[in-house]
Symmetry: C2
Subunit: 352 residues, 2 copies
């Protein structure tokens, strides 16, 4: 704190001040001084000087030299969504607790952007990368491979690297069963009373649709193709699909499965344009949990994906070294309507 406003102190400055050589200073400050047989007194002296001058290592220089940066990346499709933002929150916490620095970036579900972003991260010599919800995991894999960067896929699997994903099939089954049972409380449900909206041509959507159809056939005896509306992941497209249905039928389906909370935003857009009565008695299942979504004025069953466990497993796999490109499933949980779960926010201290 002595030299306010000056540039940051370096090991060379401390070397001058202490009379020791730069390498000695370096060793003291990075903890390797015992191995290097530095006298305890020397180490003390240097450490005191370092504190006094507020020394902090230049991590770019360290990274350049040691080709390890201490950075761990998380590539997200988007931030602006409870599932991914809570994943980011858990990720940060875990990375920090390992003494590394988290780096969260989004790539907007654009395969090219995904590759570009990863190239950039690689240029900063990040040590490890979590690829979450990538549109093209294998494309990203190749980029990582070339640079020798350890990585895992989260949420959407690739074929070339280990993946940790939600058990989408099982989750979809639970969710479908829950909404069917609930809808049946209001009277018998016919197959075309139950729709699925959202998702597109990715693994998660396929599995969810498969789970949905399995359960629907088992419980309702059939699943006409028209009941599956994979509208992609945009709220706008999803809203349009609801609108189209409404135009055709004068109401929404009695019950439906929404592929993600982003798609559920599409439902909000639809609702904004229509009076209460239009949806007074719908039953909704949403594959994703959102604390406010759970309290909408109709029953919303949700699936909470366990991103915390996915991150934990991801680290386990990375730590274990280059494993086979196996896909690990993490079981999600069914959240009944009107449920407020605790989340990463609760770990915060809130003084006062």
């Amino acid at each position: 704190m002595t030299d306010i406003g000056k540039k940051k102190a370096t090991i060379y400055d401390l070397s001058m001040l202490s009379g020791a050589s730069p390498s000695t200073v370096s060793a003291v400050l990075n903890g390797s001084w015992r191995k290097r047989r530095i006298k305890e007194a020397t180490a003390q002296l240097i450490q005191n000087l370092a504190n006094e001058h507020g020394y902090t290592a230049n991590l770019q220089a360290r990274g350049l030299r040691s080709s390890r940066s201490g950075l761990v990346g998380l590539l997200l499709p988007v931030h602006d969504n409870r599932y991914f933002s809570s994943m980011a929150q858990s990720f940060e916490a875990q990375v920090r607790s390992r003494g590394q620095c988290p780096l969260v970036v989004s790539a907007c579900r654009d395969p090219e952007e995904e590759r570009k972003v990863v190239e950039t991260l690689i240029s900063y010599s990040i040590d490890e990368l979590f690829i979450a919800g990538a549109t093209d995991p294998d494309g990203v894999h190749k980029v990582c491979e070339k640079a020798g960067l350890k990585h895992v896929n989260i949420d959407l699997p690739g074929t070339l690297a280990p993946s940790i994903i939600s058990d989408n099939h099982e989750g979809a089954r639970m969710l479908t069963q829950a909404i069917i049972e609930r809808a049946q409380e209001d009277g018998p449900l016919s197959p075309d009373d139950l729709y699925l909206f959202g998702g597109r041509n990715d693994h998660a959507s396929h599995e969810r649709i498969r789970g949905f159809r399995d359960v629907k056939r088992a419980l309702l005896g059939a699943d006409p193709d028209v009941c599956i509306q994979p509208t992609g992941y945009s709220p706008a497209m999803t809203a349009r699909a609801f609108e189209a249905f409404y135009e055709g039928h004068g109401k929404l389906p009695r019950a439906f499965f929404v592929n993600s909370s982003i798609n559920l935003e599409g439902l909000m857009r639809f609702l904004a344009l229509h009076p209460h009565e239009t949806f007074a008695d719908i039953i909704v299942g949403c594959y994703d949990y959102d604390p406010f979504g759970s309290f909408l004025p109709f029953p919303v069953f949700m699936i909470r994906q366990d991103s915390e466990t996915m991150i934990t497993k991801g680290f386990a796999i990375l730590d274990a070294g280059r494993g086979p490109p196996i896909t690990h499933l993490v079981r999600p949980s069914l959240v009944p309507p009107r449920t407020a779960l605790t989340g990463p926010l609760d770990a915060l201290k809130d003084i006062e």
Copy 2:
């Protein structure tokens, strides 16, 4: 793409391959080659080689040498919240469009963590820092100052650096007025029918409380102190405040102002434990917008803070160089109940 699996190509590799010197290669690849009077043909040759070998600059080395890293940081309290995650989303987009690399980190509203995180960012030689919702902006300022790092405060103001914040007073006035008017539709409203929950001892909370009280006094004639319940920012504490009120009164206030969407989560926790009837006719104002929160089964007026504009202004201030520590206000907007706004997600291309 020729050398798969090898280490990354460097300017030295390309120097060998092209027969030019490393400095020439460097100049060509960083665009300064015209200034350095490199022949067009040489430049072409080197650029072709670079493409062929998938060269990308080692940004740590570049950063070390030039002491500029191309990194721009955003320090958030938390990710897991629509306001901050959408801020992160806008931030990323703007940073990218300026050819820099966004770096979003959260510090959990912990002053010490805030400083530590910023120290780390500084060690990576980030070029600029946006400090959003910091508990101790001036503490962070000092750390930045010492390192000569350009920075602005967003959302919560400091006294030492330029700040860009929501016009909390005005926002709170709009919101308070809206809920009062709406509540009065159901019959006359007495001062102790209107409460405020959430927030703590920070600038934003003060301003919001001030705005609330101003309007409340003007329209209802009084504002008993008991109607202000600054419960901090945790959902759990907020839930407890609702619970306490409920125990005392057997109902919730007819109308209330909730300080943030995080506090609104506290309301959800309360609701989860009580039957529908308990809140059949409440009117809520929430200082923050959440698309699902807007469709809860009672009227929720919300304030949407314009984080996009805040970021834009932040860059303008940083670009203008070291300005005075002025606080700039950005006007938020009132969002009526049952409104689904578009957001950064809509900028995504959704193929199909």
